[in-house]
């Protein structure tokens, strides 16, 4: 069964519809999948989520959540989705417990009823349950927001950039929690600008400028990267980058951590690169065969 289905969705902003947030997007997410939407800021992730959570109307196209149309059956959808906006938007002047209680009651349920679902997350913030939500740390706010989004046992969970602005440890914890939730059969759509989080999803959609560049499993996306890739480093990085950009055998070169990643046009490029490095006669240079990851794929897809 498909939890989310999106067909030819278009959304524009501005009086003359000059800003295209989503241009003709289609994808589907089967039930119980952890689906990642990866893309830079301004790619259209939030617009997509707001349409799917019935907060925004699309210009054209169809979308359904749990089999319900986002325009016609918005009432049914609001009962069964959980949404965690990118910005912390709970009542800062209410305590942790009061927030959770409030959101439970407006969904006609209680904390007790669904405690098993949020237990693993909520126990971490329970010691602070009398504290005002505004006084929590970033990571704890995230956990509270997730608890509130889950308290009515939604069948589909939308998380809009949940890990933006959260420290590395909390990010890791957060993804562990998502994995736990998937076991409960909840479909999760999560958007993130961090490429390294893509590998934690069942399936990812790479999105840029309102277009989906590729949809596949993280492994599938990486496997599609067919061109040879090498990493190179020397003491004069900028110089090296400029030189490599000039070379004919180089398809693309970009900084990648402390290395430059060099994508060759074809197999013969590897040798040509080695020769080029030898000729430069720079002892600080390090060269090795690199394994492509999602970020390399994304950069390659953006280029083509």
């Amino acid at each position: 069964m498909l939890s989310v289905e999106v067909n030819n969705l278009i959304k524009t902003y501005g009086k003359k519809k000059e800003v295209k947030a989503l241009s003709d997007i289609s994808f589907s997410v089967p039930q119980g999948e952890l689906f990642g939407i990866i893309g830079p800021d301004g790619a259209g992730k939030t617009s997509l989520f707001r349409i799917l959570t019935t907060l925004l109307l699309a210009d054209s196209g169809k979308a359904s959540v749990d089999g319900f149309d986002v325009v016609k059956d918005y009432k049914a959808i609001r009962k069964r989705v959980g949404y965690m906006p990118g910005r912390f938007s709970l009542y800062q002047d209410l305590s942790v417990e009061e927030n959770l209680n409030f959101f439970a009651t407006i969904f006609n349920t209680s904390i007790k009823e669904n405690y098993d679902l949020i237990k693993d997350i909520y126990v971490q913030i329970e010691p602070f349950r009398k504290r005002k939500a505004g006084k929590l740390s970033g990571g704890m706010k995230q956990k509270l927001a997730l608890s509130c989004a889950l308290i009515h046992r939604p069948s589909v969970l939308f998380l809009d950039e949940p890990t933006t602005g959260v420290d590395a440890v909390s990010r890791k914890e957060f993804w562990e929690m998502l994995k736990g939730l998937r076991k409960e059969g909840i479909t999760i759509l999560v958007s993130t600008p961090y490429m390294d989080e893509a590998g934690l999803c069942d399936k990812v959609a790479l999105i840029q400028n309102g277009k989906i560049l590729s949809i596949d499993t993280p492994q599938g996306i990486v496997n599609n990267f067919s061109k040879p890739l090498m990493a190179v480093k020397s003491s004069k990085m900028l110089h090296l980058l400029k030189d490599l950009e000039q070379k004919e055998f180089v398809e693309n070169v970009y900084p990648f951590g402390e290395y430059h990643h060099v994508v060759m046009k074809d197999k013969s490029g590897e040798q040509l690169l080695q020769q080029f490095i030898q000729r430069r006669n720079d002892e600080t240079t390090v060269l090795y065969d690199a394994k492509p990851n999602i970020e390399d794929c994304f950069i390659a897809l953006m280029k083509s």
């Binding site: 910005r87 709970l90 959101f103 009651t105 407006i106 006609n108 509130c148």
Partner: protein, 372 residues
């Protein structure tokens, strides 16, 4: 109903947790009602008078004595040159110049007629108008005294004279505070009602909590009622504080019944809260809503009949006041407090304000969307 109950509980919790708002609600009416009625005074007193006396006679001295003893005027300058006293006006040291010509006494005695000259600083229109009128009345009075002195009036006056005696109804001592306090109370109620509602909802927009509410199955009318009811109760609370202060500080006890006031206020608050709601649906942030309600407030106050009488406004302005809910409540308050009007007397006001409430609230509900 259950949802509404939880919404209300949340709303009250937030209100009582915001000490600034609470203090404002309690202190604002107290301060405003204790200070404003004393300052917003219609009576013009302490008018600075410059006298140019060219005569220096007994009669001129008598006239000056009479003027200064009336209590309205302060003699700030006594000179013998008109230019000099005009200079006093230029430096704002005098509001009025009274020129007594030379031979004032002589002409009065001989010709039975004398002329005086009055120059008024008209920068402050109200002061100039009233000051001039006061002075004229005093001089007329003086004139009569002089005549009394000279001629024993015959039993039947040969000249026809009309003497006017007036009695002030509903406010026998013409205590303007009886008139101002109910009006100021209305303005207060309006301010609390519109601003609090508007800011409250816009704040939810700013913080983003409204987004979180919008994805829930909460019904639109639940949300709006959840916002209206707390502020409606608070409005009636402010009214109670205001009426208590009016009684304790000014001894104002409404001639009519409190029930009439509360019934009207209950309906009026619906209109005012509806307006706040409407403002909030059209503003994105608190600045916008503040500015908008401030703008409306200015119009409401100046075209509401608080300071100036609506009857003397130009026709087009009168039309505007008809769309100003504040003007109805000010009128009703004064009718009930001073005249003792009953519900039957104010039923048309009540209907009209109810109309405002219906229009504002349905307009707000219509333009509030849970999705964009």
């Amino acid at each position: 109903m259950r949802t509404l109950k939880f919404l209300l509980r949340k709303e009250f919790r937030q209100i009582f947790r915001d000490p600034a708002i609470l203090r404002l609600i309690l202190i604002m009416p107290v301060i405003q009602l204790l200070i404003l009625p004393w300052a917003a005074d219609y009576e013009i007193k302490k008018i600075k008078l410059a006298v140019v006396d060219h005569d220096h006679s007994e009669y001129s001295r008598k006239l000056i004595n009479k003027i200064t003893s009336a209590g309205y005027f302060i003699l700030t300058d006594y000179s013998s040159s008109y230019e000099q006293s005009l200079e006093k006006i230029e430096y704002d040291k005098a509001d009025l110049v009274l020129q007594i010509p030379s031979h004032f006494e002589k002409e009065l005695v001989k010709e039975n007629e004398a002329k005086l000259f009055m120059a008024i600083n008209a920068i402050n229109g109200v002061k100039a108008n009233l000051g001039g009128a006061y002075l004229r009345t005093i001089i007329q009075d003086y004139n009569r005294e002089v005549r009394m002195e000279w001629i024993q009036l015959p039993k039947f006056s040969p000249e026809v004279q009309i003497e006017v005696a007036s009695s002030n109804w509903f406010n026998p001592l013409m205590n303007y505070k009886y008139f101002m306090v109910p009006g100021i109370l209305v303005i207060l109620l309006t301010m609390v009602g519109t601003n609090l509602t508007a800011i409250n909802i816009v704040k939810e927009k700013e913080i983003g909590t409204i987004e979180q509410i919008n994805v829930t199955p909460i019904k639109k009318y639940h949300f709006i009622l959840g916002k209206l009811i707390p502020f409606w109760i608070m409005g009636l609370f402010v009214l109670t504080i205001g009426l208590t202060i009016a009684r304790l500080a000014y001894g104002i006890i409404p001639a009519g019944s409190f029930l009439t006031i509360y019934v009207f206020a209950a309906v009026y608050l619906l209109a005012v809260l509806g307006l706040g709601l409407l403002i909030s649906t059209y503003s994105v942030n608190q600045q916008q809503s503040m500015l908008l309600s401030f703008f409306l407030m200015m119009i409401f106050i100046l075209l509401g009949g608080l300071y100036t009488s609506i009857d003397s406004m130009p026709e087009w302005a009168k039309w505007i006041t008809r769309f100003n809910p504040v003007s109805y409540f000010i009128e009703v308050m004064r009718m009930v407090v001073l005249k003792g009007s009953s519900l039957a007397d104010i039923k048309f006001h009540l209907f009209k304000v109810f109309g405002f409430a219906v229009v504002f609230i349905s307009w707000a509900i219509f333009s509030y969307h849970k999705r964009s």
